[in-house]
Symmetry: C2
Subunit: 205 residues, 2 copies
DNA sequence: TTGCTCGGTTAATGAGCGTTAACGTATGGC
DNA sequence: GCCATACGTTAACGCTCATTAACCGAGCAA
């Protein structure tokens, strides 16, 4: 494991939208392949081939295969959380609007980044202890965002009831990767209705 | 791959509930381990150790590691389908009752056999083409069972809408493996309400 | 007893794969 | 012009791991 100029955070600090750097290409393809065949099911040679370089060439960009997975999982967790926080901030005060915004955000995410969503709950255990702890912490905070607003909206439900419901709705929304039919628009619409329908059941106790 | 007296179906043809045969022990432990760490993440030595024998001893009971996974996935798919068919038969004529029964059955299954439910949609791709086709066919038939009754109950929804909703509710119910709190009874009750809430959203179009 | 089958054991084999070594080549600042 | 750096390449190396070989004791039927 030779040391690399590894930019622990995302590259190009400015936030510009330039041509995708090689690093980003690799991450995207690795995500796709990991999601398709599992972390252990994909070889470094395959990942390399997917971006037009061969096997060990990857080690110019990442210290190892593990590091790719770690960056993917930490990255997705961070994006989910900060996205969620922004949405909560935007609509603060109106719990119904907050929940709607969280649902919409999560749907966008599930539809745009299927492979990452898949990885998110499939391959967490392959991480080094440190990374896994970080990811779990981020996940927990994201869930708490939802739980808080759900309890505000349905005060009769208990803490663990709300938390379970949130996890269940995540399961519902993340079921997306398995399907393709139905087109983006109607998919969005349908998932939204199903999610709100599920949450609504918390009221009719 | 030496040939084995491999009983393609389940052992002890009588249907008695005897002490679990060695074969069954192995399958149960393999399911647990595969669910925890993924098919590639578990070694045969580990599976052997889990039942008190060592690595290659498994080959007295299965022709290979793949065969264990195949039997698990085919088995669960068959049980889901036949269970579903029985429930549909029992309550035929009353779509609402049929759907309720399917939901209850699936919940029981998800709560009783978490590891298998996890495997079911995580490791399908590790199967030989033949087995994978068989599993997918069984899954499809099971889904069709649901789709038929959902469309009967909500005639306004299109075929693909109904199918997507069914998959989504599966995702909701199968989210179970991730949690532990809340006790069996209330978990059942909550999942039931969430699932019906989601389906109900198909009406309010 | 004999000898077959059942269910184990440990040691060897051989492939796959992550990682490292050693080596090239363009490019861009000095 | 020079040389360091970035980015690749191919060829080992070494480990893990599924599978096979070779061997063994306990029942148990004839």
């Amino acid at each position: 494991m030779t040391t690399i100029p590894t930019p622990t955070t995302t590259p190009q600090a400015g936030g510009r939208t330039a041509a995708p750097t090689r690093r980003e290409q690799i991450l995207r393809e690795a995500a796709r392949l990991f999601a398709e065949r599992g972390f252990h099911g994909v070889g470094v040679d395959e990942i390399g081939a997917a971006v037009g370089i061969s096997g060990p060439g990857l080690y110019r960009h990442f210290p190892g295969k593990d590091a790719m997975l770690a960056e993917l999982l930490v990255g997705i967790s961070e994006r989910l959380l900060t996205g969620g926080r922004i949405r909560v901030g935007e609509t603060a005060g109106d719990p119904e609007a907050v929940l709607a915004s969280l649902v919409d955000g999560h749907i966008d995410f599930a539809l745009d980044d299927r492979p990452l969503i898949t990885l998110h709950d499939r391959e967490l255990d392959r991480l080094k202890d440190e990374d896994r702890k970080r990811v779990r912490q981020l996940q927990r905070q994201y869930v708490e965002l939802w739980v808080a607003v759900v309890r505000e909206l349905y005060p009769d439900s208990s803490e663990s009831e709300a938390r379970t419901a949130v996890h269940a709705v995540f399961g519902l929304l993340n079921s997306t990767p398995h399907l393709a039919a139905l087109g983006r628009q109607s998919m969005e619409e349908l998932l939204r209705r199903l999610a709100h329908g599920a949450f609504g059941a918390l009221a009719r106790a």
